[in-house]
């Protein structure tokens, strides 16, 4: 499983090299828009969502390494 993930990640890395067109610093207006951020418009709500999912579902991880668990039962 881990091997597969590493393989997929490295494949993406090399695909990234060939598929993409270099975006210059002055062409990043779209990427700078608030609606174009991975963390979304409401990071505090997202953090609370993660807390709810952590206490109601078994799967965890994938939202960065920061943030603690809870004893929410």
């Amino acid at each position: 499983m881990l091997k597969l993930t590493i393989l997929a990640l490295s494949a993406l890395l090399f695909m990234g090299c060939s598929m993409t067109k270099e975006v210059k610093p002055w062409e990043k207006g779209n990427l700078a828009k608030p609606i174009m951020q991975f963390e979304g418009l409401h990071p505090l709500v997202a953090k609370f969502d993660a807390h709810v999912y952590f206490s109601k579902e078994a799967a965890r991880g994938g939202n960065g390494v920061a943030g603690g668990g809870c004893g929410c039962n």
């Binding site: 270099e22 210059k24 610093p25 002055w26 990043k28 207006g29 700078a32 828009k33």
Partner: protein, 147 residues
């Protein structure tokens, strides 16, 4: 070895076309900028969507008002109106060129934003890429050195 590879990666794409220190600005761009002889100019590339630019521009405006050097702002917003609204909002006093066609910015090809170029007699003397704390003090001390 690692350092070498890293710097190769880092600079591989920017050395191709960028206008480097010591190089002369191409004739057609010189016409657009229309700078006086023997005077030092600071060219400041910015965009309305660039948060760091916004922080710096207030200080660059101060440099202009204190007549420390000549400033030319170059706005690279997609739409000129967006750039104009931004200039108005920040109450910038120095002349601003709206580079809608991207001719200027593509010629200089800065590796970071905001980008500052010190120019004299159409020759690039020095560059600053990315946000700098206290850019006003930085420009003032750089100008002193150049003069």
């Amino acid at each position: 070895m690692f350092k070498k590879t890293l710097s190769a990666l880092l600079f591989s794409s920017l050395t191709l076309m960028a206008l480097e220190t010591g190089e002369t600005i191409p004739k057609d761009i010189q016409t657009q900028l229309n700078m006086e002889e023997d005077k030092v100019y600071v060219l400041n590339f910015f965009a309305s969507w660039c948060k760091a630019c916004k922080k710096e521009l207030a200080l660059v405006n101060k440099v202009h008002n204190e007549k420390i050097t000549n400033i030319i702002g170059i706005n690279v917003d997609k739409k000129k109106e967006e750039g104009e609204a931004f200039v108005q909002e920040l109450e910038l006093q120095f002349p601003v060129i709206y580079d809608e066609e991207k001719a200027l910015v593509e010629t200089f090809s800065p590796i970071g934003f905001p980008a500052v170029y010190y120019v004299k007699n159409n020759k690039v003397l020095h560059t600053i890429f990315g946000a700098v704390d206290n850019i006003d003090e930085q420009i003032a001390s750089d100008i002193k050195e150049i003069k």
